[in-house]
């Protein structure tokens, strides 16, 4: 632990800290371009010079390249250093174009800041400037190479940190070029991070091109709602339009980066079809009328059929406050017919996940620093993209990554892959729960046992499971396995990927409540007369869409609160518009049980771009903002419960009623969040039905998530439409040969739920006997929902 | 019967006359000030409404009356509404005891040209000028604004400090005329105005009066470049108007006080008494305006130091000397 003196302040830092970081810990920001906390130092920009007065090194040196040592005395602002930095800035600027006014980085440009800080105002170099051609890097990233200062941050991010292969540096001398070998979209699903790391305007957000300046944006710390990891983001909005998202730093979860789904999935907030007014039938009404209608109806049902005729459904998209008040409201009405997930199997899996002991669950930070990770039935890029990046960091440190999955799981690293048929997974997990055992009943169990022994030998092992593929039983087994595989003196941490950003919170609150299956039965039997969906979309999320539709059709009243035009909204008798995540404050509990608060970024309203059709704002005075009807669901619920809509109060109440949420009231949005303190009870599970024997022409149909197009909200984002794929089915070459099919040709997929024509793709990494179909909303296969029991299907030539 | 009626008629007549004159004067004082200041700064001053701007006061009145009357959120409503009235009323009430001419013969009786010749007129004037602080301080305090509050506090401190000096300056005059009645004070100056007899007292009184009127160079309570507008920052419309008129009424009151106590009241050659009185008051007013056009504002600490360290000791000294002189003269 060296102790050194920087600018007359003394600090002790851990061994291996460089001087730049040490200064930062003292609150002294040494100007720099190429150093980045997540990327490390390369000493390319020469800006971070400081003067070493005493100690092992002397003179002007790069602070990012010198490790802190005892007895160093450092001056970060001596005359020599300032003159040196001014010089560096001046030569970095010799080739820089004169185009700040048309550059989207302006206002958040490090080069601009450093140039001003360095006092460089007038260009002395009179020679010609070097220029480059730009490239088309796809729908997300705009490229303007003339602005580059060769700091190498982009390459280090893209290739080293994110594992992308198609973007790099070319050229010699002072003709370095940062780009692809030829034009084309960037392939990495983390390409958006280039926008954040590039200190100049070379790589900027194309979806935000020329929209605003940072000083005009309304920004606030927020959470990404597009998967269960809950990465920290900063959305920016202007003129009632959410215009971009960028990564926020949370060392426990995402670190410094986010995935492209999170970054470019913001468009759902501005969607032109978003319903923004309360509807009674299909007639627009005022809030008062709608609320009165709701209260009258519910009152009537209570009188006529008893409170058991009212049921409620919330979802993993709803904030913890909304879920909690939904529960309070159901209690107040006297109805126990309440659940928090329309997909029964996902519901159960989330309840299992919420029963893991908080100190055994793995955070993304734990995964980045693990030395062995086993993924069973988890496809990070599809189900929780940033997990793939975390695994890559572990692998870069030498961790062993093992993927056991029937699907062709792609990761931005080399890893061990074991294609296991879906029915093998339970057996492998079985083996994992008994690593010490000598004799195993099957080869799969044997394999599981071997993995378990490897985990036992590791220092910081992690076991990761996907709840969709494993199901509740599998999840429970995985938790048991993690317990069994804990090495002495350490724990094997576990992580389960869940369906949505607040699945965990819903599972905590649902106790032993019924699942949506039970509610549906009630509706079919006519016991339940009304359903209130709070930010839930049962039509699209329940695995059997026909059954769900039929049951909903029997209802006397279907009430929907939502912020998107979902399939359920179309059927609603009474509709209340709610705010999107960015338009209100709240809390989400991510898949490791971390409660994270988010702040309100801006007030709901029709984006000016839409209301004025691209022209100037209307020329009249008015107090109303068009389209500002949406209200946070929890405030409406508070009103229905007859209380003040104060977030603080709701949080405090929840904390008081349920001590597992201790710390909720003190949570701030820019903190690292805190874990729920105790697990919920493990749910009682019914044994899974044994999967039937496959006839020779039948295959197991696996419906899975896809990086783009599966998640409801990001799929509504126009920016992601360009990268959404057409529906297809993946088969193993063996099966293709057996069934005499041709790759790339359309085939017919026949199941008990229906028949579809899809494109056939072949993949050798897939487990034979399995057909994998990604869920793609808004396409022919949108009724196929992942997370269900594997189905049998037939595939024939179309 | 007839007598009572006559008395009432006379009183009403005097009241009407004084009120009308004084209010009109106050209104035109505003115009005069703006005009004179304008010319001193080589501008025209108001010259659009009426001939050469003569109807400007009327226009201002209409403007003030038709403006929205704002009451700030969080203000103490009643006090806020009352304060301007206090400040105008105290100024108006002061005229009750000011003798503006010698007694005249009317309907066969001697009518003194003063509304009410109180025996303790001087004390009454003092009491009212002390009350005037009340309006300002309350207004500043009730506005729920830091500028107003600071203005009000400054006004209070300043007026209380200078009242002391003012009292000390009047004492010799009262001693010399051996009466608290203002008429008696004037009559005592038939031959020689007190200004000559008590020059030091006159100077102290002049400065104190200027401070009391809260005008440049003593306009600390409303110092616009520090406090926006001081105690009346939050006022608008006619309520502001009342403060405004109150200030100019005060100017006339103080001018009258100066005239009565030091300038020999209505005494003067040739012209009738009332005219002399008016001329003297207007002269004092012009002097005040002239001072405003010439001197810059003092600093707050200078103001307080001057009051307490110079004026009060000087006043005491003057009082001692006068007393000694009177004892020596018997």
């Amino acid at each position: 632990m060296p102790t050194l003196t920087i600018d007359n302040q003394t600090i002790t830092v851990p061994e291996g800290t460089n001087v730049l970081e040490a200064a930062r810990q003292l609150g002294i920001e040494v100007p720099h371009f190429c150093h980045h906390e997540a990327l490390g130092s390369v000493g390319a920009c020469r800006l971070c010079a400081v003067e070493f007065l005493e100690g092992p090194v002397k003179g002007i040196q790069m602070s990012c390249m010198v490790l802190a040592k005892d007895d160093m005395v450092i001056d970060t602002g001596s005359d020599g250093v300032l003159a040196y930095r001014a010089q560096v800035i001046e030569w970095l600027m010799t080739n820089h174009p004169h185009d700040c006014p048309v550059c989207d980085e302006g206002g958040e440009c490090q080069l601009q800041d450093m140039t001003v800080a360095g006092g460089h105002g007038v260009r002395r170099y009179t020679g010609p400037k070097r220029t480059y051609q730009n490239q088309d890097l796809g729908p997300f990233i705009a490229h303007e190479m003339n602005r580059c200062i060769q700091c190498y941050r982009c390459v280090r991010t893209y290739q080293e940190y994110c594992g992308g292969k198609d973007f790099g540096v070319m050229g010699t001398r002072q003709r370095l070029y940062f780009g692809r070998f030829s034009d084309g979209p960037l392939e990495s699903p983390f390409s958006g991070n280039l926008v954040d790391v590039c200190p100049t305007g070379v790589l900027t957000d194309k979806t935000y091109r020329y929209k605003s300046r940072i000083w005009d944006l309304q920004e606030a710390p927020s959470i990404c709602p597009h998967c269960s990891l809950g990465c920290a983001v900063i959305p920016g909005a202007r003129y009632q339009e959410l215009q971009r998202r960028r990564a926020r730093t949370n060392r426990r979860t995402n670190g410094h980066f986010i995935c492209d789904r999170g970054r470019f999935g913001y468009g759902y907030v501005n969607h032109p079809d978003r319903p923004r007014a309360p509807l009674l039938g299909h007639r627009r009404v005022t809030w008062q009328e709608a609320l009165a209608a709701l209260q009258n109806h519910l009152h009537e049902f209570c009188e006529l059929y008893g409170s058991g005729s009212i049921s409620m459904l919330s979802s993993s998209r709803a904030s913890l406050e909304t879920q909690f008040l939904t529960k309070r409201w159901a209690n107040a009405l006297g109805s126990g017919q309440l659940c928090f997930e329309a997909h029964p199997r996902r519901d159960q899996a989330a309840r299992v996940a919420a029963s893991q002991a908080p100190d055994c669950s793995a955070s993304m930070e734990d995964i980045r620093s693990c030395d062995m990770a086993v993924l069973v039935g988890a496809d990070p890029l599809a189900e929780a993209p940033m997990l793939a990046l975390a695994l890559r960091q572990a692998a870069r440190r030498g961790a062993r990554i093992v993927v056991v999955d029937p699907r062709p799981v792609e990761l931005p690293i080399d890893c061990e892959r074991h294609a296991a048929a879906p029915e093998e997974l339970p057996r492998i997990l079985q083996g994992l729960t008994r690593p010490q055992q000598n004799a195993f009943a099957s080869a799969s169990e044997e394999f599981g046992g071997a993995l378990g022994r490897a985990l036992l030998e590791a220092k910081n092992p992690v076991l990761i499971g996907g709840s969709d593929l494993l199901g509740p039983q599998g999840c429970q087994m995985l938790l048991k396995a993690a317990e069994a595989c804990s090495p002495t003196g350490s724990t094997c941490r576990s992580m389960l990927l869940l369906a949505g950003p607040n699945s965990f919170g819903g599972a905590m609150l649902s106790d032993d409540g019924p699942g949506f299956d039970a509610l549906l039965e009630g509706m079919e039997q006519g016991r339940i007369k009304s359903l209130v969906c709070i930010e839930a979309d049962p039509v699209a999320d329940y695995p059997d869409r026909k059954r769900c539709r039929a049951a909903l059709a029997r209802l006397d009243l279907l009430v929907v609160f939502d912020c998107a035009a979902t399939a359920t909204v179309q059927e609603a008798d009474l509709f209340f518009p709610t705010t999107a995540l960015e338009e209100a404050a709240g809390t989400l509990v991510n898949n490791e049980g971390r409660m994270q608060a988010f702040e309100k970024v801006f007030s709901a309203g029709t984006p000016l771009l839409q209301s004025a059709a691209g022209d100037h704002p209307p020329r009249f005075f008015s107090r109303d903002i068009p389209g500002s009807h949406p209200q946070p669901a929890w405030t409406t619920l508070a009103r229905l419960l007859g209380r003040d809509a104060e977030l603080e109060k709701v949080r405090r109440e929840l904390e008081k009623i349920d001590p597992r949420f201790d710390g909720l009231a003190g949570l701030t949005a820019d903190s690292e969040g805190c874990r729920v303190v105790a697990p919920r009870q493990a749910p009682a599970l019914v044994a899974a039905p044994a999967s039937g024997v496959t006839a020779s022409d039948q295959l197991h149909l696996l419906v899975t998530e896809h990086l783009y197009g599966s998640e409801l909200l990001s799929d509504l984002s126009p920016c992601l439409q360009a990268v959404k794929s057409d529906p297809y089915v993946w088969l193993h070459p063996q099966d293709v040969a057996r069934l005499k099919l041709v790759e790339g040709k359309p085939v017919r997929l026949c199941t008990s739920l229906g028949e579809w024509t899809l494109e056939l793709r072949i993949n050798g990494d897939i487990s034979p006997g399995v057909a994998v179909v990604p869920r793609l909303r808004g396409t022919v296969v949108e009724t196929l929902v992942p997370g269900s029991e594997p189905m049998l299907c037939r595939i024939e030539k179309a | 019967m007839n007598d009572v009626l006559l008395t009432i008629i006379l009183i009403v007549l005097k009241l009407g006359l004084v009120l009308g004159t004084v209010l009109t004067m106050a209104a035109y004082m505003v115009l005069a000030e703006r005009k004179i200041l304008g010319r001193m700064q080589m501008r025209y001053g108001p010259n659009r409404v009426g001939w050469g701007g003569m109807l400007q006061p009327l226009a201002d009145l209409i403007k003030l009356l038709s403006k929205e009357d704002l009451i700030p959120e969080g203000a103490d409503r009643w006090i806020f509404m009352l304060a301007p009235a206090i400040s105008t009323a105290t100024a108006l009430l002061a005229f009750a005891v000011i003798p503006f001419g010698p007694s005249v013969q009317l309907f066969g009786r001697t009518v003194p040209l003063v509304i009410c010749d109180l025996d303790i007129g001087v004390l009454y004037l003092f009491a009212l000028s002390s009350l005037a602080v009340y309006g300002v301080a309350l207004g500043g305090w009730a506005s729920q604004s830091k500028y107003s509050l600071l203005g009000g506090l400054r006004a209070m401190a300043q007026m209380i400090s200078y009242e002391l000096a003012m009292g000390l300056a009047i004492a010799p005059v009262v001693m010399a005329s051996r009466s608290f009645s203002l008429t008696a004070v004037v009559e005592a100056q038939q031959t020689l105005p007190n200004m000559v007899r008590h020059p030091l007292a006159f100077l102290i009184f002049l400065v104190a009066v200027m401070a009391e009127s809260k005008r440049i160079p003593f306009d600390m309570p409303e110092a616009e470049n520090e406090l926006v507008a001081g105690y009346h920052t939050e006022y608008s419309g006619m309520r502001f108007g009342m403060f405004f008129v109150g200030e100019y009424l005060n100017l006339i009151v103080l001018g009258s006080m100066l005239t009565v106590l030091f300038l020999g009241g209505w005494y003067g050659p040739l012209l009738p008494g009332v005219c002399w009185f008016l001329i003297k008051v207007l002269g004092v007013a012009f002097f005040f305006i002239w001072v405003r056009g010439t001197l810059p504002r003092l600093r707050y600490d200078q103001l307080m130091a001057f009051g307490w360290k110079v004026l009060v000791p000087l006043g005491l000294l003057n009082l001692l000397i006068t007393a000694a002189w009177m004892i020596w003269r018997g």
Partner: protein
């Protein structure tokens, strides 16, 4: 001596103001007599065009950031040829204090002040000016500056084709 100076300093000004009381005012009576404003007078703002006749404004938001009273608003957009321009641009002259800070901030010399100052009206919306009312046909005070020819990115000329630029580098060669 100091006291004497103070006394003189206090009383001499009275003589000065008294003398000034009888001088002719230097101001003029406005609507009857109008004085031509100085060339650099800061009156109503206009958006100018560059020597090629194109809009100079690139909607960089700098003027709106510089404006102390927030009276400029706009939305940037991109033309097919890559030129950045203002889809709409609004100045609310009922708020403008004619400080000219926006014109100082403008990097393209698009926004310029004019000598027009008679803007008073009872109809507030009349002084909320949109781009078509602000844009003039001409260069204003500077007839030469053309941002896109000096910016170093290719919009009005092919990349590397503007003065002071070398042609684009060939990234596929390692030859010097």
């Amino acid at each position: 001596m100091g006291l004497w100076k103070d006394i003189k300093g206090t009383f001499l000004p009275f003589w000065v103001t008294l003398r000034y009381l009888f001088r002719r005012p230097v101001t003029v009576c406005y609507p009857e007599r109008k004085q031509p404003p100085a060339p650099r007078y800061r009156g109503r703002l206009v958006l100018t065009r560059d020597p090629d006749g194109e809009e100079r404004c690139v909607a960089c938001y700098l003027c709106s950031a510089a404006c102390p009273v927030d009276c400029i608003s706009m939305q940037a957009a991109e033309r097919e040829d890559g030129r950045r321009y203002a889809a709409w641009f609004r100045i609310n002259f009922s708020r403008c204090i004619f400080c000219g800070l926006c014109t100082e901030a403008c990097p393209t010399l698009a926004l310029q002040t004019t000598a027009e100052y008679e803007l008073a009206t009872r109809e507030l919306l009349q002084v909320v000016c949109e781009k078509d009312e602000l844009l003039i046909d001409g260069c204003g005070k500077n007839t030469e500056y053309n941002f896109y020819r000096l910016a170093g990115i290719g919009v009005v000329a092919p990349r590397g084709g503007n003065p002071g630029e070398t042609p684009p580098e060939d990234i596929r060669t390692n030859m010097p």
